[in-house]
Amino acid sequence: MSNWEILWGAREQFWSGFASTMEIFGLSISAAFAIGCGMLYLLEGSRPRLTVPVRVFIDAMRMLPFLILVYLLYYGLPAFDIRLDAWWSGVGALAVYHGCYFAEIFRGARLTFPPGQVEAAKAHGFTKGKMFFRLILPQIVMQTRPLLGNQLIYALKDTAFLVIITVQELTAAANSLSGTYFIPTEAFIVVIGFYWAVSVVMEIIIKQCGRFSAKRGFDHV
Amino acid sequence: MFEKSTPEPAGSGQTTPEQSAPDDTARSDRIAVSIRHLSKSFDGVEVLRDVDLEVREGDVVTILGSSGSGKSTLLRCINWLERPDSGSIHIGGQRIGVNDAGRPMPVRELAKVRARTGMVFQSFNLWPHLNVLHNVTEAPIHVLGKSKAEAEALARDLLEKVGMSPKADAYPSTLSGGQKQRVAIARALAMQPEVMLFDEPTSALDPELVGEVLAVIKDLSAEGYTMVIVTHEMAFARAVSDQVVFLEKGLIIEQADPETFFTNASTERVRQFLERNEG
């Protein structure tokens, strides 16, 4: 039996690892996106006392490795009697960490947002919240999509760190298969192929979104 | 590609294959630049059509014409920044771009021929990472292999000549347009070229800075430099030229000494052009 046949026999493990990675990824980037939008809203200044802490928090996260945040949640939080299992620590860390990166990307675009549009909205009697969610946020998201796409790929790659705190995801599957049958090369080639395929699909989707945005005049980023 | 009908006898060296018409003034009859049957198209549009032009040593030839007439392309063909579709160009008797076997020149050989010309660009194109002095010494050191001391001595002389010695240590980003262009002239002169090519040297300058650059070029002409100048400055062209060439849609339609050109042009098109550009 060739090594590839062994792997085919163990395809269930790959699939469950892949499904687990995609589940973690999907859940955490959805949360991260919400966190990023929320932080941008706070930076708009409706809660002035929170603006500076939010900025400090974003900058701090951008200066830390993702894994150390995972350690903080997984090993550090129990000191405050908060116990998260490995899976939730991982999802939580991904959401917070990449939420901060999303917020920073949005903040950069917000700086160049045309103030005339905001004034026009105010003149039409928009409330702050309505203006943010109906006017500012959609434009900023469309404008920053290439950067958001890059960040999604980083987030996907960061899911692999969770093997270190024993989350059973895709890299863990390759690791355990290569341990069981001692065919590391083939096992990891398959897994890298999975990551690569997902990245390529994401890039294509972002490009398709680009066409959609270009129709609305957002092709200049 | 290139016309096979213009093979160059090997070893023609510095002597000029073409005989120029005798001239009433006692100028050199040696040909610095000879252009024969030059044609060039961009995307099917003919920019130069069978252009012939000779520049004698020590002469100043200005090329006039409305924008899009092909005058910059003609100048850029002389040092092979643009490759013509057909025809030949000789610099001091040496054919540029095509070797004796009729094939495209290897890059090293081409660079050697290019070094015999100096070019001044509309947008200066100084190298921003080098200060003024090093902009001028860079090519003499790394192309001609001059020693640093020799190149710097020459550069300081040239910067003196263009009035830029006080700024020898400055970086290009701190200079005005007129100052940049004077440095660019010194940079081209530093290669001690046989012919200087000026591509609209004052078109990118604020009006009050045009004069300082034109004054430098005028000085060079008085010193006997061979120059080919593309310009829009009519008064300057009239004052400095030995020969004026008018290009229209890639054709030379008038070629005369400046007096004749500006007072007694033979073509209606040139008279129109002069009228429009005087008022």
Partner: protein
Amino acid sequence: MNASAWQMLLDGAWTTIWISGVSIAMGVIAGLLIALIRIARIPVVDQILVLYISLARATPLVTLALFIFLSAPTFGLSLNRNVAGILALTLNTTAFNAEIWRSAFRNFSREQREAAMATGMTPWITFRRIMLPQMMITSLPGLINEMSFLIKGSPAIAVIGIVDLTRVTNRISAVTYEPLPPILVACALYMAIIGCLVWLQRLAERRANRLAM
């Protein structure tokens, strides 16, 4: 935390710094070489490099480190952990650096290049004397940014048993049963390292902007 815990943390920081430093140095140079080969557009070689860059950008560092460390012995190579770690980090960062270098080359002013050729410089002299010095200045902010990313990704090498600044916190808490303090100190050390890089990046940006004027 006692003195030996502090010592262990500093050792871990040193491991992170030297392994990252070696990878950065190799990755910057290899990135330039790959960018130049890609600019030459050699058939087949170019396609292979495009595939490499695409794969390297999509492969998580943890996965790459495990792949290299575990599969090398099956090819009869016995890689020491540090070498495997450096190899993984270098393979990853080289792909990103190659794109930074390539874009600096592609965005280089055509007019400046023409000015160089007009003085009789060969393409090689033009590259060495005119383009490369400026490409180094314009690429530096991007390269330093990529260095920050490499440091932030470096804890991945813990997976093959290298005791870096992140992994060392486990070692300390195994003795003290107090994981939080060493993790917080490690956070502070990472912030110091990356803070330095961010500061350098700002200086580099200022220099690059001055060149663009």
